[in-house]
Symmetry: C2
Subunit: 345 residues, 2 copies
DNA sequence: TGCAGCAATTAAATCGATTTCCAAAGGCGG
DNA sequence: CCGCCTTTGGAAATCGATTTAATTGCTGCA
């Protein structure tokens, strides 16, 4: 293998359309026409161009093309936290779909902070992205929409459901809360504590509403116990631990998110209770490991893949010029009954 | 709230530098000079420009700027699988660091496929990214480097260690295998099966080497049992299951990756063995849930955060014109002894 | 008072494509 | 055989910034 041993990384001038044109003895316009076949070009010339392209290893500068075309074939994705497997899966799937249609992904993370979110979105807009998929940090996307004015076609996923002017997609969170609580009720639980990271977020509000509804239907309306955890595992753990140490501790914990579920498991351990012997645990959001270690964790799974697919579909519709009024899509969750939920003694 | 009710999403013409110049009654060049303070501008004019910028809500078109400056402040990241928490954490951290320096991330996933990887990298290059961070699908990055020719400053993370011409970063995998195996040996295990997804990948080869070394040091050199799993959880599970069903089944499983660990847990369950009563399990790669459910899973943790930090540091050095010879950084892993590894009966 | 010298502005070139529009050439009917 | 129409090719405009180079307007010194 040749050892370059150069000092400064030799700036290789990448070939431009001019170079190709020169080599093929045609006009730049012709090269462009061949490559995009935007207009017919005589076979002889076409060949010469293709040969030149080959020879030089020419690839069009996407920046220049985008500038002229006013289209970047790039979409922005904003998530609160890539570390959360839910968003990991979401981004993964969207990237996959986008790539199939020759789009690329500018990824930014808002770290659950609306300020950062707004700032990052602005930088995305400077890049003239064609579209935007956001899992907002908060539901009032004033941060998203207000200071910015015109956004490109935008789809809101998971949070911010129903915000005017956006296509929005979310799991049917009311149903998730309802179905989950019902499951626990059917097992005979009456003291069910629901752990929400932040009850002001619509997702949690909905899940709480569903939970309350199920309780009410069972005639246990006043037994609702909603605990506010926090945005991270640790704060959820302490909140739940406190709850579990009370004399009237719940017999079941309904953890309304991935982070809360993790916190709940740790809290139950910390207090020294048996899962599911002493307390049952039902999570919202599924993860690969929940079916690995005993007790397998029961969970209401959000349809991440579907959410991603729908998000991409809606965005595509807009990109294609579709002008239907804002879509609002609720996707059903599925309850996975596993081992962490057990009939009350 | 006003209801636009427009048919086609009214194309708002975004203001350009020309518009600002016109409004401020100065030349476009002056606007540019103010905004980048590339040259001194009289206070009166500067104010006028700033006011105009405010009034119009002007933001420079990053495409145009990039085209001219030949710098996009964008870096590409390529990972095999975002669903894997290791890569999730890696990307998360890099994005964070990049944002701090006002860089943005074009994210692509190679799906563990070198062909896709090469294709996706090419599209990244078309976008004229300033730098590239890759966790390659294979170690021979001919896919990465060959057909493409000149790459921008590139850092290889996790895989492809030591490839000529790249800064490379990886965990000290030999040591990880060595330390892990040693731990199992200390517990009295002699029949330790190591599960690698693909022994041809250098990472796994290294981990295997470390494992063999530890065995040899213990005078158990010929007891090495290396099982080839596969790229996904399922195939790992079946491979391990087969191993566990043999009459001379191992007393300990050393799962050399996140995916293998998950597969191992499932396999142990499937065969009906007790973890860690009948078999011990040690994983490589840590995850939040490993310290949640019993038995807590012992694991050799790769220093993801550090790897991300170093990757960004090295890339920055190159971006800043640093011209040192390719760095090769090995980062130490840490053994987390938890509950899944137990002294052999 | 005249001119060198400096600082602040701006006109124009540039980045690298796409697209518009004009010109030349070839085909065809009258 | 001539003029009109259809192709095809290429020159030039364009996208929206940055940067270079030229210009303008002062200041200050002789």
């Amino acid at each position: 293998m040749a050892k370059p041993k150069r000092g400064v990384p030799k700036k290789v001038r990448v070939p431009t359309i001019q170079d190709v044109a020169r080599l093929a003895k045609v006009a730049p316009a012709t090269v462009s026409n061949v490559l995009n076949d935007s207009r017919p070009v005589a076979a002889i010339r076409k060949e010469r161009v293709l040969a030149a392209v080959q020879a030089l290893g020419y690839r069009p500068n996407a920046l220049a093309a985008s500038l002229r075309r006013k289209e970047t074939r790039t979409i922005g994705i904003v998530v609160p936290d890539l570390t959360n497997p839910f968003f990991g899966a979401l981004v993964h799937r969207i990237e996959e779909l986008a790539a199939e249609s020759d789009y690329q992904i500018l990824l930014v993370s808002s770290n659950e902070d609306p300020k950062q979110e707004a700032a990052r979105i602005r930088t995305l807009l400077d890049r003239r992205i064609d579209g935007l998929i956001v899992a907002p940090a908060r539901d009032e996307v004033e941060a998203v929409s207000h200071p910015i004015g015109a956004l490109p076609p935008t789809v809101l996923v998971d949070r911010g459901f129903g915000l005017a002017g956006f296509d929005t997609i979310a799991a049917d969170n009311v149903e998730a809360g309802h179905r989950g609580c019902q499951h626990l009720l059917e097992l005979g639980h009456r003291d069910i504590a629901l752990i929400a990271m932040d009850p002001k977020l619509a997702n949690f509000a909905d899940r709480i509403a569903g939970y309350r509804k199920a309780l009410a239907e069972a005639g246990a309306g006043r037994r609702a116990r909603v605990v506010t955890g926090g945005l991270d595992v640790e704060s959820c753990r302490t909140a739940i631990e406190r709850e579990l140490r009370r004399p009237d501790r719940p017999t079941a914990i309904f953890a309304a998110s991935y982070v809360a579920t993790l916190g709940a498991i740790k809290a139950i351990r910390a207090v020294g209770l048996d899962l599911p012997g002493d307390v049952s645990l039902l999570g919202i959001d599924d993860a690969d490991w929940m079916e690995a270690l005993h007790p397998y964790i029961s969970a209401v799974a959000q349809p991440v893949e579907q959410m991603a697919t729908e998000a991409w579909r809606l965005l595509n519709q807009r990109l294609a010029g579709g002008t239907a009024k804002s879509a609002r899509i609720r996707l059903p969750c599925t309850l996975h009954v596993r081992e962490s939920t057990r009939a009350v003694r």
